[in-house]
């Protein structure tokens, strides 16, 4: 236990600290509950996007396998030369319950049509075209997923941090302050009892002196 001066003012101060810690703990608990609610809704969205991503990837891989098999790797590669491009992503930030969360948004949609992919449709099979379409959908979902996953991670970290703070207050700070209060009380009581005893002794001595003078 840290060095505590067993004084009345210290007792009052410790009591105030306990009240403050309990108030802080309640606030943190409320924050944690609110974060959990937010976390669960983001979690639902993340799970939805995750299964969406899984399904889209499976479909795209399957289409690619068929295109490579039927049209040949050479044709798929040739079409891929024409469709190379860049994807722009905007990174901004927002605050959820006071927590800074990065926001990932598509600068320009990665989804293109058969006429905007670069090649002329007369020279590329619809199998390859549909495969390109499915892979563009993957990119689209990945960007959405990156945004929601980052948000989920940040919320998760913040919930953990808040939880640690609540636990620290609940398990360490408040019990330690209570112990200190108890110790101060005990010390003050001890001191009061000593004072009382001393006063009684003094009183007894005074009375003995008075009776000796009187006799």
């Amino acid at each position: 236990m840290e060095e505590v001066r067993p004084t009345r003012s210290e007792l009052l101060e410790r009591k105030q600290q306990i009240t403050l810690a309990e108030q802080g703990m309640d606030l943190l608990k409320q924050k944690r509950d609110a974060l959990l609610i937010e976390f669960m809704s983001v979690m639902d969205e993340t799970l939805r996007l995750s299964s969406d991503l899984q399904r889209t990837t499976n479909e795209a891989q399957y289409s690619l396998a068929i295109a490579k098999a039927v049209d040949g790797v050479v044709s798929v590669r040739s079409a891929a030369f024409a469709t190379r491009g860049e994807i722009t992503i905007d990174m901004t930030g927002t605050k959820i319950m006071g927590i800074s969360v990065p926001v990932v948004t598509k600068g320009e949609s990665p989804l293109r049509t058969s006429f905007t992919r670069g090649y002329a449709i007369t020279g590329v099979s619809s199998r390859i075209d549909e495969t390109a379409d499915k892979f563009e959908r993957i990119l689209d979902v990945i960007i959405e997923y990156a945004d929601i996953e980052t948000r989920l991670k940040r919320l998760g970290e913040e919930i953990q941090k808040t939880n640690r703070r609540v636990n620290a207050l609940e398990q360490i700070t408040v019990p330690s302050l209570r112990e200190q209060v108890a110790y101060i009380r005990q010390a003050l009581d001890e001191r009061a009892r000593e004072d009382l005893f001393r006063l009684k002794k003094v009183k007894k001595k005074i009375e003995q002196k008075k009776s000796a003078h009187g006799s």
Partner: protein
């Protein structure tokens, strides 16, 4: 030491003029070595890629497979071996061709030259190095692998056009014509469309002639163009393009789908309407057969597949006519291409764990 034997120069026989006797005898021999359905059944039952390679190594694909599997027993290496085999087989066929057949076959196989030129154009548009695109070229047309590599080494599209011009190849003409517009707009599809249109127009003109062999080759080319135009018109249905915009995608040289019909089809409201319009043509039946599957899958590739099957049947049909005509060569070349596609489907399918049923659906069996 035995006395030195005089050097014997082996002169390869090549028939001249329109003598199909020797050519067709050699091609019949090659055709007899095409893989049977039973082989594909055994291949489909193979557990893994290793077992498949073991089976395939005993076939015509053996030498190319042995070369390629040195780099690994993977589906990619098998794919490369199939490509090598197709290239050498097509070259062999061309070496057996007489003068007339050489003209007809190189014209039909010009679609592969077109493919290679387009691949190089795409790569140059994206400023890729030659090494990045060499694996994506397939020399089964008039241009050899060395020609293709030389074209791929050109620094830019203008350099490519100049080289094509110097070599006197027809692809230089359309590229040169649209080059200024391309340089201004940076629109790659301009070059591709110009190449497509020019090749089919050029091929149709080159196959014109009164002889039966010319007619057979011309009919087959026209069927290819028709199927492409039909498919493009279906793909244009949801594009909401103005007629003059849609007309850019029309390819000349077909028999059934002329420009007027193409434009009419491409502005129709749905596939059913297209189907009703072409019902009475030779393409009605394959489209009808695919219509149900299209309703189930909603994918245009269903029609593409049906039209490809139709085209393969047409190609095989050409081999059933005159035994001393070009039909046998065309039929063999497409049968070989079909065989390579089927092998690719099985190899790829097994390597990605595709169900056997699905692989059988994809196989082109005529």
């Amino acid at each position: 030491m035995s006395p030195a034997r005089p050097a014997v120069k082996v002169v390869k026989y090549r028939p001249a003029g329109r003598d199909y006797g020797y050519q067709n005898a050699r091609i019949r021999g090659m055709r007899s070595r095409l893989l049977r359905q039973s082989f594909f059944d055994e291949l489909l039952a193979a557990k893994d890629i290793g077992a498949m390679i073991q089976k395939m190594i005993e076939t015509e694909y053996g030498p190319q497979l042995e070369d390629r599997i040195l780099h690994g027993r993977t589906a990619t290496q098998v794919d490369e071996a199939l490509k090598d085999n197709m290239q050498s087989t097509f070259r062999k066929v061309l070496s057996h061709c007489n003068n007339e057949a050489t003209t007809l076959v190189t014209t039909l196989l010009g679609r592969w030259d077109l493919f290679n030129v387009k691949t190089i154009v795409r790569a140059k548009h994206m400023k890729l190095e030659a090494e990045e695109l060499l694996d994506s070229l397939i020399a089964v047309g008039q241009l050899s692998q060395i020609d293709n590599e030389e074209l791929a080494r050109q620094g830019d599209i203008r350099g490519l056009v100049d080289t094509l011009s110097t070599w006197g190849l027809p692809f230089a003409v359309p590229l040169r014509a649209v080059l200024p517009e391309y340089e201004e707009s940076d629109d790659l599809s301009l070059l591709e469309l110009a190449l497509d249109r020019y090749y089919y127009e050029w091929a149709a003109k080159r196959l014109k002639g009164w002889r039966e062999n010319h007619r057979i080759a011309r009919r087959f080319l026209a069927a290819q163009v028709d199927t492409m135009n039909l498919l493009t018109s279906i793909r244009l249905l949801n594009a909401d393009l103005a007629p003059e915009e849609a007309a850019r995608f029309f390819l000349p040289g077909g028999d059934v789908v002329d420009e007027a019909l193409f434009l009419e089809l491409s502005v129709m409201s749905d596939v059913d309407e297209v189907f009703r319009r072409v019902k009475k043509t030779q393409y009605g039946k394959p489209l009808d057969e695919a219509a149900l599957l299209y309703m189930e899958k909603g994918s245009v590739s269903v029609f593409e597949r049906a039209l490809e099957d139709f085209l393969f049947r047409q190609a095989f049909g050409t081999g059933k006519g005159d035994p001393l005509g070009i039909g046998l060569t065309i039929s063999y070349l497409w049968a070989k291409a079909n065989e390579v596609t089927n092998l690719r489907i099985v190899v790829k399918g097994v390597s990605v764990g595709m169900p056997e049923e699905r692989m059988r659906e994809e196989l082109i069996v005529v």
